[in-house]
Symmetry: C4
Subunit: 292 residues, 4 copies
C-alpha cells in the first residue's frame, strides 16, 4: 500500500464524503466504563509489557549486532527482574509478544503463562501493519495467532498492533480471528466499543497513549523523575474518575537497573490507595463487556 502523497493530493481539496469516511472508518463507539470495578474496586490498573526484544531491530530489516544485543537484554536481564517484581507484589500483567520473539524465547512465554500472566498478540516480527496489503496483514496475523497458541498453550484473545500502527483493515482481521479486544487506539482513557464504518463491532478497545508508555520518555528524554510524576498523575486522574489506568512498558526499556526501581515505586504508590483492582487486559475487557 503506497503512502499518501499529501502534496499531490492535499486534504483541503477533499470532498466532505472523503474526510468523513476517513473519520468514520474506525471510531470510538459507546463507552464501556463500568459504574464500578470488580468487587467494588474504585480504580482498575492494567500493566502491560510489549516484549519486542530483538524484533525492535529485526522489524526494521536490520541485523546489526549492537542493537540486536540491546534487544536480547530484554529477554536475558529485564524479564527476570520484571517477573520478580510482579511476583513480589502478587500482580498479574499482560505481555504482548511478536511471534518471532515467541519462537526465539519459547521458555519465556511458557514461564509467563505458568506465573498467571496473559500472553497476547503483537504482530509477526514487529512489522508496520499500515504499510502492508490486507492479504499480507491477514497472513501475518494468522501465523502470529497460531504461533502464540502453540507456544503459550493457550489461544490469545487480544492484540496490540506493533507500533500502534492500526490499519484500516486491522479491525476486520480482528473479527475474523474472533478476538475479544484490541489495545492500540487512543480515543479515550476508558474502554469503549470499536465502530467500523459507524457500525458496532462487539470488539473492546482498551485505549493506550504515548503519555502512559515508557518508550517516548526513555528513548528520547531519559528523565526518570519526571516519568514517575506523570505516571502517578495519570493514576490519580483514574482514581478521581473511578476509571482505568493502563500502562504500556517494554522489557528492554523499563527493565534496566535505574528504571525497574521506577516501576517498583509506582506499584508501591498505587498499593497505598484502597480499592485497586490489578487486572490483565483480558480480565478488564471481559469485565467491561459484561458491566460497561
Amino acid at each position: 500500500m503506497a503512502r499518501h502523497d499529501s502534496n499531490a493530493d492535499p486534504a483541503w481539496r477533499w470532498e466532505e464524503h472523503r474526510w468523513r469516511g476517513a473519520i468514520e472508518k474506525i471510531r470510538a463507539g459507546r463507552s464501556l466504563h463500568p459504574v464500578r470495578w470488580k468487587d467494588g474496586a474504585r480504580v482498575c490498573v492494567a500493566l502491560s509489557f510489549d516484549s519486542d526484544h530483538e524484533t525492535s531491530t529485526l522489524g526494521h530489516g536490520s541485523m546489526s549486532p549492537g542493537p540486536l544485543s540491546q534487544g536480547q537484554y530484554g529477554a536475558r536481564a529485564a524479564i527476570p527482574r520484571i517477573l520478580a517484581l510482579l511476583r513480589r507484589h502478587d500482580i498479574r500483567a499482560s505481555f504482548f509478544v511478536p511471534a518471532v520473539v515467541a519462537l526465539l524465547h519459547p521458555d519465556e512465554q511458557r514461564r509467563l503463562v505458568d506465573e498467571g500472566h496473559e500472553v497476547a498478540m503483537h504482530g509477526w516480527i514487529h512489522e508496520m501493519p499500515g504499510q502492508l496489503t490486507e492479504t499480507v496483514e491477514r497472513d501475518l496475523m494468522r501465523r502470529a495467532y497460531e504461533t502464540l497458541a502453540k507456544i503459550a498453550g493457550r489461544r490469545p484473545v487480544g492484540v496490540r498492533v506493533p507500533a500502534w500502527d492500526f490499519s484500516p483493515t486491522t479491525v476486520g482481521l480482528i473479527r475474523e480471528l474472533g478476538l475479544l479486544y484490541d489495545s492500540s487506539l487512543m480515543a479515550d482513557d476508558e474502554p469503549y466499543e470499536l465502530l467500523e464504518d459507524g457500525e458496532p463491532t462487539g470488539i473492546v478497545e482498551l485505549p493506550v497513549e504515548w503519555i502512559k508508555d515508557d518508550a517516548p520518555y526513555f528513548v528520547r528524554n531519559r528523565a526518570p523523575a519526571t516519568v514517575l510524576d506523570i505516571f502517578k498523575a495519570e493514576f490519580e486522574g483514574a482514581v478521581a474518575e473511578g476509571g482505568l489506568f493502563l500502562l504500556t512498558m517494554h522489557p528492554h526499556i523499563i527493565g534496566h537497573r535505574s528504571r525497574i526501581t521506577l516501576l517498583a515505586e509506582l506499584i508501591e504508590h498505587i498499593k497505598r490507595v484502597d480499592g485497586v483492582w490489578f487486572a490483565t487486559h483480558e480480565e478488564v475487557a471481559r469485565y467491561c463487556l459484561a458491566h460497561g
Copy 2:
C-alpha cells in the same frame, strides 16, 4: 506556491529593497497596550484552545486510525474536562476551531457558545496557508467563516492561522472578511496594530509565542513540572509589566488526566493575584482598540 530554494538564491545576494520589502510586508505597528485594563485590573489573562481534534491528522493528508483516535480524544475526553474546569472557575475562553472540526462536532461548538465562550476561526482543515495560492487561501477562509457562522450561530470576529503559518496574503484576506483581530504572530507580548507594507490596517494582533503554548512541551519534552514554572513566570512578567498573559492550548494535548491538573493549578495560582481580568480574545481586542 513553490518553496524558496535558498541554495539557488541565497539571502546574502539579495539587494536591500528585497530584504527590506520582506520585513515590511507584515510588521508590528503602534502598541495597543492599554494604560490600565478593564475596571482597573492590573493584568489581563486570555486563555485559548485550538480545537484541532482530528484535523491535526487529516490536515497532513493522513487517514491513519491511530492518530485520528488521538484527535477524537480531544472532543470525547478533553473538551468535557476543560469545560468543567472553566465552569468551576467562572472563566470565559476562546476556542479556535477548524471548519471541518465544526462540521464533525457541531454540538460541541454550540455548547461552547451556550457557556459564553468565543468560537473563532482556525482554517478549513488545519491546512498550511503559507503553501497555498492566494485564491485557494481566500476560498478556504471564506468557507471556514461561513461554516463557523452557521454552526455557532454567530459570525467569528477573529482568526488564528493554522500552525501560525501566516502567509504574505493572509492580512489582505482578514481585511476582506472584516475581522477584528488576528492571533498568530509574535513581535511583542502586548497587543499591537498590524502594518501591511508600512501602512496601518486597523487589525488588532494578539500575539502568541511557542513559550506560551502547550504543544512544544508535551509533544516533544513531556515535562509538566517545568511547563507550569514557565507559564507562571510568563504570568508574573505580565503582572510586573501590567500586561497581557495569552496562553494557547490544545484540547487533545492539555486535556489528559496528568495535564489538566496543570491548567487547574495555573488558574488557581493566577486567581491568588488581585486585579486579574480573564477575557476572551474578542474582549481583549475590542478593549485594546478602544483604550490602547
Copy 3:
C-alpha cells in the same frame, strides 16, 4: 564551496598529511590566561548578545511573516528589557550584530554605544561562512565592517562568525581587517592565540561553547531551571580556576518575560562573589594580549 561527500571520500582513506593538515589549519596556540585579572579580580565575566533579530529568518532565505515577527520581538520587546537590566547592574556587555540588523535598527546600535556597550561584527545577513567562496566571504565581511563602523560611529574590533561556522579562510580575512579578536571557536575555556597552519597570528580567541549559550536550551528543551544551574556551575568553575566566564545569549531568545529573570538571577548570583570583573569582549581581549 561544495560540501564534502563522506561516502565518496571517507576519512579512513585519507593520508596522514591530509588529516594533519585539516587539524593544523586553524588551531589553539599559546594560552592567554592571565595570572590575575584587572585590578586583582579573581574571575572575569563577559556577557554577550548576538542580535540576530530578523536575520535568523532572512539568513535562511525565508520571508515568512511569523518567524520574522519572532525576530522583530528581539528588537521591540527584548533589547529594552536587556538594557534595563544591564543599566540596573551597571554592566557593559558586547553585542554581535549582523549588518542587515544594523541597517534595519540603526537607533538600537547607537543606543548600545551610548550606554557604553560594544558593537561587534556578526556577518552580513547571518549567512553561513563555511558555505561561501573566499571571495564572497571577504566581500560580505568588508561590507559588514563598513556598515557597522558607519552606523555605530566606531570601527568594530572583534567578530563572532554567524552560527560559529568558522571557515578555513575566515582567519585570513580577520587579519586583512586588522581585527583584535574572534569569539567563535571552542578549544579552551580561557583565551588563547589563534594559530594558522601552525603559525601564531596575533589574534585573540575568546572561546565560546554551546554549554554557555542560551539557544540550545530554549530552542529545543525550554528548561530554564536546569539552564540556570548549568550557567552557575560554569561560573563556579571559572572562579575555581581564576578564569573567564563568557556567556552567549540572543535577545529574541533570552529577552522573554520568563527568561530575562534567569539572567537577572545569574547576575545577582555572580555579584555575590568578591573579585568579579565584568568586561566587554574587547576589554578582555586587550587585557589578555597585554597580560596573558
Copy 4:
C-alpha cells in the same frame, strides 16, 4: 557494504533461517558474573573514557575548524581535569583511543600509561565498522593495534568499537588480534562470553549501554542533575545485584567545568559504599575470565 533496503526486502518476508541466523551471528553466551569480586568486594566499578577528540569531527569527513576546536578541547582542557580527579581519588581507568588521536597526541597516551591507566583500541579515525568491507575493517584494526602498541609502549588487550557499531565480521578480527575483551555490546549488565554462530569464542564482553554513557544526555538534553541521579541509580542496582557498574564517558563532553563536578560527585557517592573495587576494563576482564 551496502545498507539493507528494508522496503525492497522487508523483514516479514524473511524465512526462519534468516532471522535466526541474524540473531545467532553474535550473541551473549555464558555469564561471567563472578560470585564475588576481587578481595571480597561487593561491587566493581569500571570507569572508561573514549578519547575521540578531533576524530569525532574527522571521522565524518569534516574539516570544519569549529567542531575540530571542540575536539581539541578534549585534549587541551578536559584530559588534565580528568587526570587530576582520578589522581586525587587514586583510581585507575580505561581510555579508548582512536589511532589518529594517539598520533596527534602521543604525549597524552604516554602520560596515561605512566599514571597507571589502560590505553585500549577505539578504531583508526572513529570510522563506522558496520559500513566497511571486512578487508578494510581488518586493515584499520591492525594499523590501529600497531599504532597504539608503539605509542603507548604496550600492546592493547581490549577494544571498544567506534560508535559501538559492531559489524558481523568484528568478532573474527578480534580473535585474529588475540584480544582479551570487547566493550561495545549491550545484552546484559554483567560480563559474558561472546558466541559467534552459537560457538563460544573465549572473548569477554564488558557490556555498555547508552544509559551509562555521558553523550546522549549532554549532546541532546544537557540536564546534569538528572544524569547524576540515573548514574547513581545504575550504581545502586549494581550494588544490590553484586555486579558491575561500567561507565562510558568522553573527555570533550564530561570534561567541561559544569560536568566534571558531576563525575566528582559520583565518585564521592560511590566511595561512601563499603566494598567497592575500582578496576580497569582489562582487570575486570581477566578477573571474570578466571572467576566468572
